[in-house]
């Protein structure tokens, strides 16, 4: 995969960059107008002075180095002054520009492709990481950021993306043995709507979008072991209310709570946790005298078997797909791995065949108590794909 590389069109990135620079300049001008002065918006020190000294907005803490101007602080001030949303936009655009548009361009090699390096020995969970450049965090949700994906093009006919839907939750359902959770997956229900329906005590058909989103955050929060405070910040409720959500969830899905408790206990006993394929992760944090560090160790203990097993499954699928391609003389290439997703560069005649092979392997590489569901999409560039 690394040797193959993925084709990336520098000119597309360039024209996007030019566009974006234009936008950035316009925003900059508006910011200067509203502030009544010119200053270096990217300097937190100067920004702090302008916002809190000159414009007199309410500020949070002042540290030795100046006012804090992090995104969380600015988000709270959004309604106080029209300059704030502009500054947030400015930051977003400059980051997109430098990290992705300009950042990616410098990794395009003479063959017109980007050859990332997958680090196989970096993470503590067993996941792969991608560096130089990191192709695993190209924006997918943000409308503007997504456009960057247009620069990635197939060398064959088109891209195929195959992605495990909610693999971590399914792994959780399997490992924990929670009958309620497993039931939802076996019945083919949308898990977030299901959980929302249970937490808010209403039929699935009446769950609102917001409620579903809340339920989703609660579920992921639990998988990653975040606290009531962290969850509250995420979904915009008080830590107390957030904690209630978490408790309700555990009430409805006792299998999950039992599993979490057992895993943490066993981690304290043996100093480590294991994934489905027996990958071992030692967690020294559990034996630290610092409470916060121990807590983070407990979160790792709960999360690693889930995330690590998901990583194991995907790695196993990759190995089998590679073998199957060889056996079947497939000319299409497996190009990228993005955590739960695989991207292929497909030759026209092989479309059906490749899809069938990949789906079959991904679905059956491991037999869990719940089905593994794959979603897929074809596309002429990475933007069009999913």
């Amino acid at each position: 995969m690394e040797i193959k590389g993925i084709k990336c069109d520098a000119s597309i990135l360039k024209s996007m960059s030019v566009e974006m620079n234009k936008q950035i300049e316009e925003i900059q001008k508006s910011i200067y107008d509203l502030a009544g002065e010119e200053f270096n918006i990217s300097s937190p020190k100067q920004l702090g002075e302008v916002l809190f000294d000159h414009l007199g907005l309410s500020h949070a803490k002042k540290t030795k180095t100046g006012y804090k101007t992090g995104e969380d602080i600015l988000e709270k001030l959004v309604n106080e002054h029209p300059i704030i949303p502009l500054i947030l936009e400015f930051r977003k655009l400059t980051k997109l520009n430098s990290t992705y548009l300009e950042g990616l361009t410098k990794y395009i090699m003479p063959d017109g492709k980007i050859h990332t390096i997958y680090k196989q020995t970096l993470t503590r969970t067993g996941r792969l990481s991608s560096v130089d450049p990191n192709l695993q965090n190209i924006p997918t949700r943000d409308d503007l950021g997504k456009l960057i994906r247009k620069a990635f093009l197939p060398c064959n006919t088109e891209f195929l993306s195959c992605d495990y839907s909610q693999i971590e939750l399914r792994v959780l359902a399997h490992i924990s043995g929670s009958k309620e959770l497993q039931g939802a997956f076996i019945r083919g229900e949308d898990i977030h709507t299901r959980v929302a329906a249970d937490i808010f005590n209403k039929p699935m058909s009446e769950v609102t979008k917001n409620e579903r989103r809340t339920a989703k955050s609660v579920i992921f929060g639990i998988v990653y072991g975040i606290s009531g405070f962290g969850l509250g910040e995420n979904i915009g409720v008080s830590p107390k209310d957030a904690k209630k959500f978490i408790e309700k969830y555990f009430e409805l899905y006792p299998g999950v709570k039992d599993y979490m408790d057992m895993t943490v206990k066993s981690a304290y006993d043996s100093g480590s946790v294991r994934t489905l394929f027996n990958r071992k992760r030692s967690i020294d944090e559990l034996f630290n005298s610092n409470y916060m560090i121990r807590q983070s160790g407990e979160r790792m203990a709960m999360n690693t078997p889930i995330q690590g097993s998901a990583a194991d499954i995907l790695k196993k699928a990759m190995v089998e797909i590679d073998k199957a391609f060889e056996v079947n003389n497939i000319k299409s290439d497996m190009l990228l791995q993005i955590h739960d997703e695989l991207i292929f560069d497909v030759v026209e005649e092989e479309k059906e065949k490749v899809l069938n092979i990949v789906r079959a392997i991904m679905e059956s590489t491991v037999k869990l108590d719940v089905p593994l569901v794959i979603s897929q999409d074809f596309g002429t560039d990475l933007y069009e794909t999913k």
């Binding site: 050859h115 390096i117 196989q120 480590s272 394929f277 992760r281 020294d284 005298s289 983070s296 190995v319």
Partner: protein, 476 residues
Amino acid sequence: MTLISSLFKYLNVIINLVISMKKMVLIDGNNLMFRSYFATAYTGNLMKNSKGLVTNALYGFANMVNKVIKEENPSYILVAFDKGKSFRREEYKDYKAGRNETPDDLRTQMPIAREMLDAMGIKYFETDNYEADDIVGTVSKWCEVDPEWDALLVTSDHDYLQLIGDGVDIKLLQTKGFVKYNRDTFKEAYGINPPEVTDLKGLMGDSSDNIPGVPGVGEKTALKLLQEYKTLDGVYQNIDSIKGKLKEKLVDNKDLAYFSKKLATIYINVPIPFALEDCKYEGPTDKLDDFYYDLEFYSLMNSHKVKEEVHVDNEYKILDDFSKVDKERIAYYIECDKENYHLANIMGMGIYDGKNAYYVEPSKIQDFFDKTLDTIKYTFDLKKNIVLTNRFDTNTIYDVNLAAYLLNKITKDDLATLMNNDSVSVPLYHDIIKNKLDIKEIVTTKAKYIYLTHDKYIDDLNAEEMFDLYTNIEHP
């Protein structure tokens, strides 16, 4: 009279030339240990040796001290530590009240730091109810009044700035790097003289030590006042020239200001039972390597101590005739000149066949693999080697990088890390590139290590029941 004064001047110059200045480095031991501890404690993954002893602060401390020795080349060193409850706490029970308690993991390392200094041949001192500051303060004053002696204070604590004087400089450690001040450069930077730092603290206080100062007076105001009136006394003598709220605050808190100044003043008359000459530094004792060995600070050791299983001597031959190589199994290690191997060039390869180690030149590498298609091979970072050689047929069935990863060992993409932790000394990749080291001995030693430790790693994988994980998932 002018003749005599110029004669004196002449004599002075001669005397200064003849008497070589004695250079004393004074180190705040508590400060360095704390810095060193917190520098790496945030990851939650504290450095330990195989007996479970936490060693992160000691490692950083050793490095810091060694660095000072290398940079300053002192002939005299003294490290000062806090002991017991500071006398300041008795006068003001809230002194340093805001501070968190020393973490246990740091506390356990403190006594060992003293042992390490003994092994390093460095004198240290501590005495009841005095802080390291006071000890350093006292000794630095000795150096100040004695024209034969120069002192350099090493710490990150700003309180020490008041000790700068004639022949007493400070190396103030910062987050990255340091800044050096002498009397003149300090005056330039702050606009006040070093002793007036106590007046400064008297006015602005010090939140980290919980010294109150005058409420509402910060560094800027305090510096302005002192630049104008020189000292606390000067300020209060001229209090009527000061206007408004500031005057009010100063008047209301006059006692507090003087008390704060007192708290901030480093004591310079600590009873010290030895003389400057007793702090002579003559290099490490011969116990130091053993000390490092127990702590498993292999990279600091001068000689290598090698465990029985992995005895690696560094002989090798240049490979010219492939038929000489044992064809059954070999280990190979390829070194390239950049971290991103898509862009790198091969610098050379080392191989070991169980009996002999050979160095293979870059131009001969492809040929070598062509002629050894059936030979089973072991290596480090197979993925990198596949890209570098652009071949998938090397018949490599074992990659120590992956094996070590599964066994939760730290590899950092550099085989040297694994080897050093296994007490086989070999330079780090960064050093190789930075210092342009000759790699022939390095790559052959690495290949040897890979070969000799294969069985142990496989045994460990089996013991942890991860052999299948390795063979079926990670390696392919």
